[in-house]
Symmetry: C2
């Protein structure tokens, strides 16, 4: 048995998140099924770099698993892509050290959130249609308050099973790109629903309904009710996982 790493991407709209869910389509279950077929029908356990919520996309996702394969890896990758649905693509398949762990070895993850303002049928699945004026400068002022190590309870789904809500945010900024607003955030870890709750709150700043400085109060409150609604999942991409 050897340990293998895959770097992949998937369209989240086809799945109830990455992780196996009873009676629901998941990325993990789809890939485990194909790995099992390519492993003489012996079960293979896939370990992902994290979870993504229902409907959230992954531009870059990493997972590991253990199998015994003799064949050329490029050939196996070709087979995997042929057998997997259109909504999942394996970009790299490689062997990795036995102590490589897709989740615990990851040092940093980054997400991007896309917003378009003019109705566009071709962006619908990959961007949030938000037609109201936005103040980019104020959104960026507010985003700066996220940087550093903070308790992000105000932006976390309540009743999750994590031991603490501290995350260290390395970068958080907006830019305008081809008529879309794009928010990038990088951190050592993320809480459930965190990026979408942050984006919803920054949109309130962008609409000038709250001030950039209000972010400080919202973070300090450690209370989900202080932050804004979560924006929908189709605009969110897990963008890059760093090791």
């Amino acid at each position: 048995m050897r340990r293998y790493r895959i770097d992949l991407s998937y369209d989240g709209s086809a799945f109830f998140g990455f992780q196996v869910q009873p009676n629901q389509a998941s990325v993990q279950a789809s890939i485990e099924l194909v790995l099992c077929r390519l492993n003489k029908d012996r079960k293979v356990k896939l370990v992902g770099c994290g979870r993504t919520d229902t409907g959230v996309h992954a531009k870059h996702f990493v997972a590991h698993f253990e199998v015994h394969w003799e064949e050329d890896l490029e050939k196996i990758r070709f087979k995997l892509n042929k057998m997997l649905p259109n909504t999942i693509a394996i970009h790299h398949l490689s062997t990795c050290p036995d102590d490589f762990h897709a989740r615990f070895s990851a040092k940093k993850r980054s997400y991007q959130y896309y917003i378009h303002q003019e109705k566009n049928p071709f962006k619908t699945g990959y961007s949030y249609h938000f037609p109201y004026p936005l103040n980019l400068e104020k959104m960026n002022q507010a985003a700066q308050f996220l940087i550093g190590k903070h308790d992000f309870s105000s932006f976390s789904k309540t009743r999750t099973q994590v031991s603490n809500n501290f995350c260290e945010v390395h970068e958080a900024f907006w830019k305008k790109e081809n008529e879309q607003y794009v928010f990038t955030i990088g951190a050592n870890r993320f809480l459930r629903n965190m990026v979408r709750a942050i984006v919803g709150t920054l949109l309130l700043v962008g609409e000038e309904k709250i001030d950039p400085q209000d972010l400080l109060k919202i973070i300090a409150a450690k209370n989900r009710q202080e932050a804004a609604f979560s924006v929908p999942p189709q605009g969110l991409f897990l963008w890059k996982v760093h090791y």
Copy 2:
């Protein structure tokens, strides 16, 4: 009653083409339903610049209709977009002369066809995944033979109701753009299935299974069986209608 023109776009994967079909979703039926609601429930007939086949997208499509409206046009356009599904967007609404006809006044139409070579879940709906090597130069040599006025029967669905199969092609070329092959073709008119049959044939040239010069023989044959299979609709966009 005044005549109005709309410039719109739609995601073809949601529809059985532009034109009303019995018991099927069509772009025309979706828009006529909304226009009727905004016309005191009196029926409105929408005339499009052409038909598109099931699954084919329109980046730019033009239609006209007649109603009696008093309200500000920007407000009506806003309402139309709110009432229409995400898959249809009205980009412009304007009055037009009574002799403007979306179909007969159009002088030129252009289409684009997109191909990607590496599996990509985010391109799946808007591009054809074709993983085999392509010779761009030869595809462009072959495309040049399409230019001019020819009988395009070899690239038309058989048993259509048009009186003749002559089309005047103004431009036809391939380019590589962000890891995609993009084919552009502009003509005064197009036959049913024509662009997809042409692209299928040019891919045979790109794969070096036939020579660029073979295009001349295929055109001259005026026989659909001489050309190649049609590529799937999700890569095809009606790109621009010129008046």
